[in-house]
Amino acid sequence: MTESALQPAVHGVVAEFTTPDGLVSACKKAYAAGYRRMDAYSPFPLEEAAEAIGFEKTAVPLLTLLGGILGGLSGYLLQYWVHVRAFPLNVGGRPYHSWPAFIVITFELTILFAGITAVVGMLALSGLPQPYHSIFNHPRFSAATRDRFFLCIEAADPKFDLEQTTLFLQTTDAVEVAEVAD
């Protein structure tokens, strides 16, 4: 406690890479070394990096599926209720329960509900919107949206030690290793 009063709190140690392969191999190395609380940043989706840092499956696909099923059911049942129960109309002698005609709306609502659930579920599960994140204290971090790749081992990791972790990251292909304030 006394130490933290003297020093500014540390969010973690950040290593910067110029290639996706450099980042991925560093992620694998860090995971093998026992680090778990870390995050990788890349200008484009990098599935291998996510796998390498032990990113587990999210519930988004399941939520999307449930959203889709709910959308499909509500679309079909709404039409059934309107055309068969609430306001039956004889259209050219076709049956009230004209399932082929219901398919289009059912399909559309399936997609609509699945899409909305996917977006909202993704935002909710990843804790967005988030107005403040310590990683932005790193002066070069904006390059993560252009051409640079970053790996951050966070101070919250039980194995984290400012000196050791910095030394460890220097053994990777990183072009720069720096600590980031919380």
Partner: protein, 406 residues
């Protein structure tokens, strides 16, 4: 995963297995062809139906390959770079398919009722179509289609052959210049060809989405076939290094897309005709959902759409060759079932063969088998003559980078 390997250190010669596969398929094809020829003497009517089913199936492999090839020239993509030589080998069978069309042309009087004057005399709606549906014009349209398909095959192959040694961007440019109008050509010719060869089996019926339906069916056939062949070669270099889960994922996603579009076009046609409820239009469906045919129709809904669709939603399945290949094989089998359902329940002119009840003849199996065998034999022959990848392709090194293609 594996370390990055420089493509230059590889030679992309096809493995010996390709040549022996060519022989094996040709042997199978010729054995089945003997059975098919016996079938032609036993019942020329049934033989011709079987021939049309098989012909449309293998034509779909070739034209679908050509369409995907042209699409790739315009859009690129890692999945396309890996599969390109397979698409080119599939397309290279178009001259062979031109020759194999001759039996259909010779048998046209047995296949198409609108060539029978007594039928036309009793069907006014068909008589009114005589300006389009007549022997000379039908033949001319087929000739035009084959001329265009062969022209594009020659042009696309010529550029690609040069690329084995010449990396000049002018060749890429030329291939693009042929590909863009080629896709339009594919749309027009396929609409004409399928209207003439399949839709006109029931000349009173018409559907404007029919050509589109075949376009997507052929892309689906070709995609599934290329995936199956690629996976069957996964142990050979360079595929052992580059055919990773991310590439399989792309193939899986495209097969899922094409499956959905197939269902979309099939359902659009059905919904519009169902809603219109006009005697001219619904008869085609009534012939296909009664008398036992409903089992085939239902199998298409479930096995060509629902099951592959649900399975292909899974990310793991798409990234695992052992699970993805069986789905692709199911798609290929159902392509055959779909053609059987389109071709057979039509009137057989002057033969007394009843198609109001579900009917199957052994030639429906033997003739397509012969055509598939010959097609695959010729396919592997073409495929075995060229490097497996286009060595001068500037994007080629990307295939050795794992996990981040977009």
């Amino acid at each position: 995963m594996s370390a990055k390997v420089q493509p230059a250190s590889y030679r992309f010669d096809p493995p010996v297995a390709v040549a022996s596969r060519s022989k094996r398929w040709l042997v199978l094809g010729f054995v089945a062809a003997v059975a098919a020829i016996i079938g032609a003497f036993v019942s020329s009517q049934q033989f011709l139906r079987g021939y049309l089913i098989g012909y449309m199936l293998v034509l779909g492999f070739s034209l679908g390959s050509m369409a995907l090839l042209m699409l790739g020239h315009l859009t690129g993509g890692n999945w396309w770079m890996i599969g390109r030589r397979l698409m080119e080998a599939g397309m290279a069978n178009i001259p062979l398919l031109t020759i194999l069309f001759i039996p259909i042309w010779l048998g046209r009087y047995s296949l198409y009722v609108w060539l029978d004057p007594t039928y036309v005399a009793t069907h006014h709606s068909v008589a009114a179509k005589a300006a389009y549906l007549n022997d000379q014009f039908w033949t001319l349209r087929a000739v035009i289609c084959f001329v265009l398909w062969n022209l594009w095959t020659v042009m696309l192959r010529k550029g690609s052959l040069k690329q084995d040694s010449d990396s000049s961007p002018r060749i890429w440019q030329k291939l693009k210049v042929w590909s863009a109008p080629g896709i339009l050509m594919f749309g027009f010719t396929l609409t004409v060809a399928t209207t003439d060869w399949i839709m006109s089996l029931e000349p009173t019926w018409y559907s404007t989405i029919f050509g589109m339906f075949f376009m997507i069916s052929e892309a689906l056939s070709a995609m599934a076939l290329i995936l199956v062949i690629l996976c069957s070669l996964h142990e050979f270099a360079p595929y052992d290094n580059i055919l990773g889960p991310d590439k399989l994922h792309d193939y899986g996603k495209l097969i899922l897309t094409f499956t959905m579009v197939w269902a979309y076009f099939s359902f659009s046609q059905w919904l519009i005709i169902w809603a219109g409820n006009l005697p001219d239009e619904i008869s085609w469906y009534l012939d296909r959902i009664n008398g036992g045919w409903q089992i085939v129709a239902l199998s298409l809904v479930i096995l060509q759409f629902s099951l592959p669709f649900l399975l292909l939603l899974s990310r793991e399945l798409k990234r695992d060759a052992h699970k993805l290949v069986p789905v692709a094989l199911l798609v290929l089998v159902m392509r055959y079932v779909d053609l059987y359902w389109l071709v057979v329940p039509n009137p057989f002119p002057g033969t007394g063969i009843d198609t109001h009840h579900i009917t199957y003849h052994w030639t429906y199996f033997a003739v397509p088998l012969a055509l598939v065998g010959i097609w695959l034999g010729a396919f592997f022959w073409h495929f075995g003559k060229r490097p497996l990848l286009v060595v001068t392709e500037p994007m080629l090194p990307r295939l050795w980078e794992h996990g981040h293609e977009h």
